[in-house]
Subunit: 318 residues, 2 copies
Amino acid sequence: MKALRVENNQLNLADVDQPKRESEAFVRVLKSGICNTDLEIVRGYAGFSGTIGHEFVGVVESAADAPHLIGKRVVGEINVGCGACEWCRHGDARHCPARTVLGIIGRDGAHAEFLTLPSRNLLEVPDTISNAQAVFVEPLAAAFGITEQVSITPETKVAVIGDGKLGNLCAQSLALKSRNVVLVGKHREKLALVRARQIETVLLEKALKLRREFDVVVEASGAEAGFNLALDLLKPRGKLVLKSTFHGAAKWQAWRVVVDEITIVGSRCGRFAPALDLLKNNSVDVESLISEEFSLTDGVKAIERAAQKGVMKVILSR
Amino acid sequence: MKALRVENNQLNLADVDQPKRESEAFVRVLKSGICNTDLEIVRGYAGFSGTIGHEFVGVVESAADAPHLIGKRVVGEINVGCGACEWCRHGDARHCPARTVLGIIGRDGAHAEFLTLPSRNLLEVPDTISNAQAVFVEPLAAAFGITEQVSITPETKVAVIGDGKLGNLCAQSLALKSRNVVLVGKHREKLALVRARQIETVLLEKALKLRREFDVVVEASGAEAGFNLALDLLKPRGKLVLKSTFHGAAKWQAWRVVVDEITIVGSRCGRFAPALDLLKNNSVDVESLISEEFSLTDGVKAIERAAQKGVMKVILSR
């Protein structure tokens, strides 16, 4: 089958054997989405070799332990735990120390014709959700997951820094909980997407007018400057949600966190079920985030496109 | 009166007028303690000019609005709020944006013969607490304040990084709540002080054997390396309490906080009343932390001594 792979720090579209794991479901991928994490892997920051991609929708072709899933359209949680450690026994494979992660750690990913995942990782996609929408379940779960880590009420003043895909989904997710969400970004056309959802936006160059106004700031820009801006925008005792896994060492003024008694909350993956509900109820708009769709066979070109300025979600179809 | 002052980045013992604020209590200082923050100010990191010092015990000489305090031995909370902002109205001047802070921000401090503070900042010291002990109320409040920000149960696995004064007080404070406290440090003689309180210790060079073992890690070393060690020692979803206000920009790998979903809690000042109770009940030992006592007139020498390796608390007497 065709698969988009990183090997020896080189991205290429390869012909490889179909994946086989007797104990797991075998899934034909319909569409997959390119995430910034894919771009980081291609740049060699994450030490992963293999088929990349972790946002997908597919159809189950076989599943020995879950025959009811066969023929069903599914999305899949990307962390696969050992099943035996304390984390796994508590039903949360996301922090299993021996975990593999689809297309990220030790497990071939979704930018391929087929993939395997344990059937317990799969969730059926309701008919009213399109394939293109379903590709967003993983990043939307990550965005909405913030609301499980930090208390957001209608009065909570929230700023989201970064007008890319992740920032957009964070702003939309948090606006479902708070009336006071502002997205900070530097691209007028990207801010417009969020304003179309009746969410306030502000250009980066004017953000410092909002100094010390927010209870919660979500850093979703992945830039070192975004972190320091977040500290500027927070009230004392405010909460800074760190969302983007940008690699490399950032500089920060730790004393500011101490003096203002800021809490920083690292936030990675969320649960899929609530995200599916949001899409089913049309509570968030994901389709306006799609910049372009490529065939999997043009995967290398698609990755190049996704890395260009101003581009939002790029989708690979089969 | 004599006062130990930093002016034009120069430390000197000056003869200055006694402080006068009609609306505040006038306090004759008996003893004051030298804190690392004093040393940072002397090094020019904090932009403060004036009389330094914020840990003290004294006797109230006059207090127009609180005559019952006159002649009483007191300690004093160091933040003085505007009284009108949202923070002050909620009774917490510690984050008032217009606050002054004794010997730290916009207000002459305690390494002097006299100081003034609003009478509401003063707490009477029970007779059973010695002057030398009372000097520790401020740093002990800061250490014990952690237990108000982070839930510590008898089972919580806690590591404290840093065997200096602050680390010692943090370890002792947290050991009152948890059976599983370990202090990490690099000075055998300082670790011995904590072990004498039946608290486990480990040498820094062996700390990595405890990788990913702790629910809570308190960084009290003030070193950049301490922060990264804290990330090594924490379990996923663990809490890192940032305690020391070391200045300058630190480098950190923000992605580790995201991937392991770590929460970082900045922690500065605590409340004085619980700290006074701890001293009254002999729940913590502070006297073993005293390295040396100087006369205020030898204040410059005392600061030099406090900055030397291996020295713990240096106290100035009048």
